[in-house]
Point group: C2
DNA sequence: AAACAAATATACAGATCTGTATAATTATGT
DNA sequence: ACATAATTATACAGATCTGTATATTTGTTT
């Protein structure tokens, strides 16, 4: 089916981009890993950049949506959502197929502001921050924007640290820092 | 002079890697920008990877050394060093030629643990964290390791945010978060 | 079964990449 | 001034990359 084909290409590309790097992953590698013909890929994605853009966007939004739903599932009230933030991040990082935040990696490989991938990365990083800010706002934090940004930065740093040094205690210390910042915002 | 040549190559490569991306920067681009012959580059650096490794290492160590000296220059005592941490980071980021932390970008482009560039990135991220931890320890923080890691994560997140969105208020909020975490570590 | 669409296999063009070979040119030191 | 070393210019080999052309095979629909 045509829809399956697009999905398969997108999933394969997403995985290879994230695990081997975007520029280090050639179209031929994606085609081989997905087990499809090259012409099929170029039918659904006229250029590699289209595939990069959609892969990064998808990967990032899957994370924020997953996190949002995970918190809605396990938290009894808005305040608990905020407290369980790093439990969610930890659970997400525990997946061995996890390879970090896609918009961070993408922005590192395409650092120039006029580049389409970089612009998308900026957009996605704002979406992510807004997601955290909304949780803070719903939890009744007055300075939700400030705390949201602070927690977002902390998560980004924690994910980076955990990616660089697997099974470090980065998440544990980030969670403790978050507790302190949240409590401080409540007063 | 031979030493100048090596320096020039290293500085040019460092700049291009950081501002355009490592894999996106070809040897020919480095050679053109440095105004030298390709053979000269390959005389001092037998392979591009050697140039990557030394550029990333240099860029990272220059930052941590700069930050250390900046704090020693402006702070009257160890405790002030800790408090001025984000003033230093802000000053460093204010340089328009600043393009973020090199070991973060390098690890994004070379994500595989067995890769030499990735291993170096891990090493440099530890050096950076230890630098912050030492400042915390000298400032008399009991849990210096914990606070050092927390502040390092916060700095990494803040640098990322500031790189993605220029002249945002990321540093300002990161500094405030640091104040709270430091004060909390003192009690 | 016939007609149409989708996917494949293969080959290739053209650009770019890393790294090398070779000969000419410039600097340097004695 | 002369010998030696360093740098340059140019060309190129071989690999790899993105994207396309073309013909064949497979799958679906009616």
């Amino acid at each position: 089916m045509a829809k399956d084909m697009r999905e398969r290409i997108l999933n394969t590309a997403s995985w290879l981009f994230q695990s081997r790097g975007i520029n280090a992953t050639g179209v031929d590698a994606i085609v081989a890993e997905a087990g499809i013909a090259k012409m099929t890929l170029y039918k659904y994605f006229p250029a590699k950049e289209d595939l990069i853009l959609e892969s990064v966007r998808r990967h990032s939004r899957e994370f924020t949506e997953w996190l949002t739903k995970r918190l809605e599932r396990t938290a009894a009230n808005p305040s608990e959502k905020l407290q369980q933030l790093f439990d969610g991040v930890e659970e997400w990082l525990a997946n061995p197929q996890c390879n970090g935040l896609s918009f961070i990696k993408a922005s590192a490989e395409f650092p120039q502001p006029e580049n389409a991938v970089n612009r998308l990365s900026v957009e996605l990083s704002h979406e992510f921050r807004d997601c955290i800010t909304n949780i803070a706002r719903e939890a009744g934090i007055r300075s939700a924007e400030a705390l949201g940004l602070q927690l977002a930065m902390l998560i980004e740093g924690a994910v980076l640290s955990e990616q660089l040094t697997k099974s470090s205690d980065a998440i544990e210390h980030a969670r403790q820092a978050a507790r302190i910042l949240i409590e401080s915002s409540r007063r």
